[in-house]
């Protein structure tokens, strides 16, 4: 299995390097979102005497610069891709291989991440020059962050696979996707750091997978999490990966039965 992961990831790196300029422009386009959040929150912080909910402009800069990497790590095979995959017969080809397509997706997008990280470094440097971050992580925080971004990647892979598999039953499910993405935006730490959410929203988010894909990895590096909170966060990520994997297996079996019944 290691050989499959290694070869698939290497293939993804080769393919994505062919598209390095497209990837770069995509990443440049993507940083518009955190820059808007950063400018808005920094302005509010300045207006409120230098900080909002414990976040200074430097802390916001650190949060949203790390955000750009975490966002890129969170790019996985989307439900829209699933529609395309079924429509163009790609799923049939995948079903004929003696390996679960989930392995292929995890390996392929993992390979893509290495290209993304490489391209991200100069962008992060530029952002740090424009918006000086306050960032003093400990070694433990760095190690937990490095694990947590891959944990986030796996959680999001599982849940977007679940959403994507809805296309086994119906062809147009974009409204459902949009609902999921809206919940994720609000309850993950993507739009606003979790610490700035109302208490009820933080409590609700604790029982959902979203914050473990955005807020937790970012705060692991830039926040003030205790070692206990860091390890608890990794444990929660593991839990959500396992929950997601179990659900993926269940829905996959039913979905493939349905696919085999109605035609590939």
């Amino acid at each position: 299995m290691f050989d499959l992961y290694w070869t698939t990831a290497r293939t993804a790196v080769m393919v994505q390097l062919q598209y390095r300029m497209a990837n770069y422009f995509y990443m440049i386009g993507m940083i518009a979102e955190p820059i808007i959040y950063l400018v808005v929150w920094s302005t509010i912080a300045a207006a409120q005497g230098g900080e909002v909910g414990g976040y200074t402009p430097g802390a916001f800069a650190a949060y949203y610069i790390v955000w750009t990497l975490v966002r890129n790590m969170n790019i996985v095979f989307t439900p829209y891709g699933w529609e395309w995959r079924i429509k163009h017969g790609e799923l049939s080809a995948a079903l004929l291989r003696p390996v679960h397509p989930l392995h292929f997706d995890i390996a392929y997008f993992a390979g893509w991440k290495f290209v993304v990280i490489l391209l991200w470094l100069p962008l992060a440097g530029l952002l740090a020059l424009l918006f000086p971050p306050t960032l003093h992580p400990t070694w433990l925080e760095v190690v937990v962050f490095c694990v947590a971004i891959w944990g986030a990647y796996l959680i999001r892979t599982m849940f977007l696979w679940l959403l994507g598999m809805v296309t086994f039953w119906t062809t147009r499910v974009s409204a459902l996707y949009e609902l999921y993405f809206a919940c994720e935006l609000l309850l993950s730490g993507r739009l606003v750091p979790m610490a700035l959410l109302p208490a009820w929203a933080r409590e609700l988010a604790w029982f959902l997978p979203f914050q473990w894909t955005f807020g937790f990895p970012i705060e692991a590096l830039v926040g003030q999490l205790t070692p206990h909170e860091l390890l608890l966060g990794l444990a929660m990520q593991l839990l959500w990966i396992l929950v997601g994997l179990g659900l993926v297996q269940l829905v996959w079996r039913a979905g493939v039965r349905r696919y085999g019944a109605v035609g590939g």
Binding site: D3, L4, W6, T7, T8, T11, M14, V15, Q18, Y19, G89, E90, S92, A93, L95, L96, R97, P98, V99, R257, G260, A261, V262, G263, G264
Partner: protein, 322 residues
């Protein structure tokens, strides 16, 4: 047949197709009452194929060929009946089974568009867990057989349709499957490419004793590769036997190639298909062929006369028309 590579008994596939009339009213009605129609794509097909056989699976569009192949490959769950390939039930898609078969369809794309085919072959090696030495030997042998050594390092997007199809077939066979389901492998290719792919399939079959089921609308493919054909129409087997037997059974006419000493009108002997001076091609009913030949020899100054089978394309058309 206990040792059959492929064994199919009363295999059926019925699709549920949503149906509604045109217009706004029908669209609104379909919100509360959805109508579906049952379409039998395969309506009870039975056959067995021995290991190492190459069988042509023929039929017009919509006859049920691709549906049958998809059921045998494990992509579709049969509605009823039994299918066994190498002893496996295909719809279970056991990995042990998938490692021993391949399905090549015209639209299948297992190649990485932006990379040379060699990189896609490497991915196939990892997917099928092919040992390195075996992989290299097979890959190099196939590259030689297909004569693609000069283009195997070019990005796939820069290859022609025929070149891509060659690469697809190599990629699909690197794991040396024992069962090949080939659905229109030469579709859209020029004659030279078709010939090269045909000879590759024949060589693969000989070298690895692989069992092949081939669908094609090009009779040249069938004539070159298949001793046996199964003809399917409206989801049922109409003929299963030697290619030559198909002509005997379904050809309703014979062609008489007549060379005359001097030009003459032969239209009262049969349908004149072609006339070029003293050379005339006549089409006559199969039962009449001997009698018309005897009459021609008695009544005309015939220099030469041969009775020929009609072209196989015409025979197949005849089968589908019945």
């Amino acid at each position: 047949m206990a040792d059959a590579a492929i064994s199919v008994a009363e295999l059926r596939k019925i699709y549920q197709v949503p149906e509604r009339e045109a217009g706004l009213r029908a669209a609104l009605r379909s919100l509360v009452r959805r109508r579906v129609r049952e379409v039998p794509a395969v309506a009870g097909v039975s056959f067995t194929i021995a290991p190492g056989e190459i069988v042509g699976f023929l039929g017009p569009n919509g006859a049920g060929k691709t549906t049958t192949l998809k059921m045998l490959a494990g992509l579709l769950h049969p509605t009823d009946g039994e299918a066994r390939v190498l002893g496996y039930q295909p719809y279970r898609r056991d990995y042990a089974y998938l490692r021993q078969m391949t399905l090549v369809m015209g639209n299948r794309n297992q190649l990485q568009w932006d990379l040379p085919a060699l990189d896609s072959f490497e991915l196939q090696r990892a997917i099928y867990r092919i040992p390195q030495t075996e992989f290299r030997a097979t890959r190099d042998a196939f590259i030689d057989l297909m004569d693609v050594g000069a283009i195997v390092s070019k990005p796939v997007r820069n290859l022609s349709l025929g070149e891509r199809m060659k690469m697809e077939i190599i990629g699909a066979l690197l794991h040396r499957p024992k069962i090949l389901f080939l659905d229109e492998p030469t579709i859209g290719l020029d004659v030279t490419m078709q010939r090269r792919i045909r000879s590759f399939i024949a060589a693969y079959n000989q070298r690895y004793a692989a069992t092949v089921m081939l669908t094609s609308h090009y009779m040249a493919d069938v004539e070159a590769l298949c001793q046996r054909v199964i003809v399917i129409h409206h989801g049922r087997v109409r003929y299963d036997g030697p290619l030559a037997g198909l002509v005997d059974r379904f050809a309703a006419y014979r062609q008489l190639e007549v060379s005359l000493a001097e030009p003459a009108d032969l239209s009262h002997y049969g349908e004149v298909v072609a006339a070029n001076g003293v050379h005339v091609t006549l089409r006559v009913a199969k039962a009449e062929a001997s009698r018309v030949s005897a009459r021609l020899l008695n009544e005309q100054a015939v220099a030469d006369l041969t009775i020929e089978e009609p072209p196989i394309d015409d025979v197949i058309e005849q089968v589908f028309a019945t």
